[in-house]
Amino acid sequence: MSSDRAGPTEPKETVVDEGLVDKLRRVLWGSGKTHEVRPVAAPRKTLTWKQAGGGDADEAEFLGQIRQLLERTPSLQASRVNIIGLKRIKERFGDAWQRVADRADRIARNVIERHLDPGDIYATWGEDTYITVFARLSEQEARVKCYLIGNEIVRTLLGDDASEYLEVKTAVTRVDGSVDLKAVGSMDQMFEGAEVISPLAPPELKAGADDAPRTNDDTGLTLVPIERDRVVQREADAVRANVLAGVDFVFRPMWDPTRNVIATYLCVPRVRLSDIDGAVGDASLAVAGDSDAMARLDAATVARVKGDLRAMAADGRRLIIAMPIHFETLCSTALRRRCAAEIGTIPEAMKQYLVIEVIDVPAGVLKSRLMEVIAPLRLHCRAVSLQVAIGTIDFTQIRGTGISAVGAEIAHLAKSEFILMQQLARFQRAAEKAEVVTFLHGAQTRSLVAAAVGAGFHYVDGDAVAATLARPDRIVPFQLADLYMPR
């Protein structure tokens, strides 16, 4: 799961990168300009800072400083420095930009941070420019990754019909040593050079007889000269094969402590980990950062839940199923329509038993965007809920959007119970102000369950409540005392 979602979140732990970060900071902002160090989520080793005062950056100065950076860091190739600009988005918003600038910044940071690996860094320049340096990627990979990140930011802010507002540039060094920024405005430009490194490509592709492999000195990865479409297709196939071939579904019983009952089951897609016998992982984590795999996973989830609701209609069970769908999938107009159409085929009588849970919602997403994304789904279900980060402390954007519940997944968080319990209390207080129901997924200990119930959460699930099941079972009375019964 990603870190920041829907609304401001609390400060995170500081993880400071060494070497390149300092150098980049010194070169870009060293001469008399103050800067702000901003920590981002562990476990990535990243560090960001922001030019004080904001405003439009002076491009000549900006380029000059990138040039200095490259001169002082011989190991850093120009084309590994990529820039994502929000200037066109800013222009599109016009005067309204001032109202949304902070939120747009949070969304951009959130998306970028989610895609960073240990050793990667990013920085902001002015209020609308983000610079990324990927430590372990080749030039081409860095460009592709930056393009995908930029695309995700634009889609999140404006939807998938807004690619014209995407502004991704890569730094290039001219013969005379000067630095320029080259726009990467399309998939064709992104793959310019026709030399593509594909860490996701299947082994047979890398070993192809026609594609004599060469080793990239910088990354140690194998370079495979191959035409773009083949690579794109093979990568998609590889992701699909790795991630979706082994997907299955389990259902987590969600306890309603105010009614002392389990009547809601959360559908959880899981993926088998091929390298560890019998091990399963959260499929949503496995597809993180890959829109295509995410959309396929969502389609598979809808199909599964649809089947379960039909089975319920046939055998008379009356339970509620919570179905997770990625926010990013719903940001795409085409995918959203397809998803809504698919859900629309659920028998009318069974729609009242479906709750759609929108997951991986970025921090600070605009209210209008939320409404746009959610409106087509509202017709086909009992309720729409949002799964956000447990650190979220403001749900004012949710009012009036038709969202009736907010919650968080905590099973994968590496935080102390003490911290989590404080966050649970704050989360609940914020939700109460917005008058929305709350749920907590993945409470693994009785302490966390008790803390969630004590804080006032309306639904709690996790291993400490009940084990997952192969299918939504039945309505089960469940009281606080049952939490302490031997299993």
Binding site: P257, T258, R259, N260, S416, E417, F418, L420, M421, R446, S447, A450, A451, V453, G454, G456, Q479, L480, A481, Y484
Partner: protein
Amino acid sequence: MQVLVIDDDVAVRQTIALLLEDAGIEVIQAADGKEGFRAFQRARPDLIVTDIIMPEKEGIQTIIDIRKQDPKLPIIAISGGGRIGNTDFLEIAARLGASTTLPKPFDPEVLVDLVRKLCDDAKRAATN
């Protein structure tokens, strides 16, 4: 007389400790159920005052674990969680082993009186 106070809220824990110490009662403190259970095993106090909602090991589980080792030890469960719908932490705590319960906030004198009474009752039961 020695009382073990288990509460993750430092302010509450220390307030209770001061209150009991002022009444001439020796106090040992623990910040959560896990630490509290270890302190119980080490010190074998005369009485335990425990909060319910705590990290690591919450109060009800702590009471259950302590009861397995000492069925007669007086235990006072305190909680600000109170009643949530039909769910009452203190009621469950009483059902699963607490000698008595006290909802937060409580009158300091009530707590001191309760501690004294339960300790006296335990002593009398032991001598009979």
